[in-house]
Symmetry: C2
Subunit: 185 residues, 2 copies
Amino acid sequence: MGKQPQQTTLSYALLGLVHEEPRTGYDIRKIFQTTPMCHYSSSPGAIYPALKRLEKQGLITGEVNQTHALRPKRVFGLTAAGTESLLGWLALEISADDAIWRLDELMLRFAFHSFLGSDRATREFLRALARETDAYSKVLENEMANLPESTPIHGRLALESGVESYRVHSQWARRALLHFEVSSS
Amino acid sequence: MGKQPQQTTLSYALLGLVHEEPRTGYDIRKIFQTTPMCHYSSSPGAIYPALKRLEKQGLITGEVNQTHALRPKRVFGLTAAGTESLLGWLALEISADDAIWRLDELMLRFAFHSFLGSDRATREFLRALARETDAYSKVLENEMANLPESTPIHGRLALESGVESYRVHSQWARRALLHFEVSSS
DNA sequence: AAAAACATGTAAGCTGTTACATGATTGG
DNA sequence: CCAATCATGTAACAGCTTACATGTTTTT
């Protein structure tokens, strides 16, 4: 319940991955290099310090795999506090700012929503996401309509791309929601 | 021609804005706060140091407006080297990596393409953007098809959102291209 | 006279980048 | 035995965030 120090997106990605199954830093690097769950830095200079931070905060623990005595590899898993932090993040309410500036993080959160037992939070998540992205696409649409005469076509088109981007996300969220609706009847 | 030290996206945004017309740091902050050309930090701790860096590199110069002797405001404009750097950046070829990881920067570049006199570079830009985003959407599509059976629906949907995102950008680029085609006949 | 907006900056701290460093294990 | 891959880390540096600091001009 106490307010936890807020993590970077990378940190949450790490928490989610070691929650799926215990992993080493190297495992995680490979995932970031070779799977679509990428868009995160696979550089050792990012990952190992991040893992160390999480360990110091008590969210993960590394067990040394002793099959080879020298050059041990450290397999990380979530602690109770780590699980709590991860699940708390997943269930967080979506703010308008999240939808506008941190869509990437929201999509990562959604991808990990399978960790929540029930679909209720996911439905709420998708409804909020659809609402906020739709609202912002309309804000941008409005700003496009009020652009000064002199605005060159390039600027207009770039803005149009932004409008579309948020609109498409909103539509995606509504479509995704159908997968979690209770098929009542 | 010499390789210039590469700038951050924020730096290029600043170069573009002061190229439109001479501006102060405060002007720029307001633009980032109030117009859709935002998504950049309007914090003084980001902007003033960035302006100072550009000045030290000789890309912009600040003229003190002496209408009020105390608390002077500094109006920045591009130097010849600054113009060269900005135009060089605009005309840069698009790599696949740019389209995958730095779409935001590409859209900023496009928005400033009005500074290039001719439409030829813009056409090339849009063609390359359409090609690369389309190619990557297909890469993701393929990865979605090859996802392990066990992958939860959340992961699939998140990936689908990525596929769509790139596809929509590609379609946008193709549509935008129509505005710059020579209406030959 | 006070509040809001104008206007510019600095300092500490955090995170990520790039580059370097080290050594083990496995496949050809 | 050599190369590639496995595996973990550190160090210097750059840039951004947050918070602070300061003083002016305009509006109410």
